[in-house]
Symmetry: C2
Subunit: 248 residues, 2 copies
């Protein structure tokens, strides 16, 4: 099987896994956790998993691999850079709104913030992501940034990008696990214990497995050197870049 | 800074982070969780985090990067393959004993096994690791395995190796998080709630952060193409391999 065919199969798999993650986290929180509100209640908290999984994992993963699509390699890189930056900005905004939901929820009952390992890993992921977006924008999109800086920055940007994905996967797994232990207790009226694996627990565990699978496929696409966009510009380019010659 | 110097700095960092993980998990369970026993009690459970972190994370990580050390590239590959296989086997044995500890603990009070997302991710990691070890032994160490099979197997082996590390990091983070919510409850006599971040919580959270940092440094070493052992055998080889010519 050719490398390009394996790429497209991996890419389709990442799209399917990403969409499955979004469907699972939405169904879990709308059907089993009573839906959404923005009122400091548990319904506001429900935005947290939905926005983190949709923004910080799925959109982030989709945004990370846009340069890897071989069909785009014959085209000007700039529109793809703008798409990459836009997807990542949308991912970051969703993640920040998702953090607001959980801070609001804790503050509404004067609960403490940022004490659990889940929260430490998660906040580190969002902080690194925000830093990565700002440095990426300044280094790769501003016309004044010198090509030598871009060459130095690129491997760090790719490695930090993959590392942030690993952090977000670890944060999601610990968060889903923690949430299920919190809410699935036999002593809460009508609730079944997590340990008896009620349908909600199976759904949320499957969501966790899908997130891990999505992360692994995205990292595979990201790190395979054969699937990296070639550095040199093709000779048959037909339209000029908007900002400057892009060769990094 | 030269690539070799950066490698050795990264390698020293991975050694330091790995040792720090082992020290932290041992101090946590011996000083704060009352030490160890093999009697079905919570003291038997304490072997679980110690053996998983020491075996499945630290020894696994050390074993994963042995081929990357440039000093070994001028030498016959076989002793390093045997060291890699031995470290991985020791890691797998420690992980299996670590699983026995938690199954024994649950079975002693007829508690259920393998329902949490932590346990699903963790058992998947150990099962994939056992499969990877057997396939790796058959494919890379048995003299009857053909070189073409080895060439096909190698990228899959490297990718699955990195993936297993990602699974184990996610399992460790969710496990430490879960354990701290279980044991640090204000309503248990003398205990402080996790949310008030008592010293034990800080130590175990730091352990989680060290595990993530160790995983990231090991993955960086593993996936950097400049640090991969060159395929071709050096001309100044002085002693013959024990099993067969190793060129994969």
């Amino acid at each position: 099987m050719s490398s390009v065919l394996i790429f497209y199969l991996s890419y389709l798999l990442s799209l399917a896994l990403g969409l499955a993650c979004v469907v699972c986290v939405c169904v879990w929180n709308s059907q089993w956790r009573c839906g959404f509100a923005w009122d400091g209640s548990a319904l506001e908290f429900n935005w947290h998993p939905v926005l983190m999984v949709t923004g910080l994992v799925v959109l982030y993963g989709f945004g990370a691999v846009v340069y890897r699509i071989p069909l785009t390699w014959g085209q000007n890189k700039l529109p793809w850079k703008l798409l990459h930056a836009a997807l990542m900005l949308l991912s970051l905004i969703l993640a920040i709104v998702g953090l607001c939901a959980v801070f609001d929820f804790h503050n509404a009952f004067k609960g403490p913030n940022l004490y659990s390992l889940h929260s430490w890993i998660g906040i580190a992921a969002v902080a690194l992501f925000a830093m990565q977006w700002v440095v990426g924008f300044a280094g790769f999109l501003l016309p004044c940034s010198p090509p030598t800086l871009r060459k130095l920055l690129k491997p760090v940007h790719v490695w930090l990008g993959g590392s942030i994905l690993l952090l977000t996967v670890a944060a999601c797994i610990s968060g889903i696990n923690e949430k299920l232990f919190f809410v699935l207790k036999a002593n809460i009226s009508g609730a079944q214990a997590y340990s008896s694996l009620p349908p909600e627990a199976v759904l949320a565990n499957v969501l966790g497995a899908l997130i891990v699978a999505f992360g692994l496929v995205v990292l595979k696409i990201l790190l395979n050197s054969e699937w990296q966009r070639p550095d040199s510009r093709p000779e048959n380019m037909t339209y000029a870049p908007l900002l400057q010659e892009e060769n990094e």
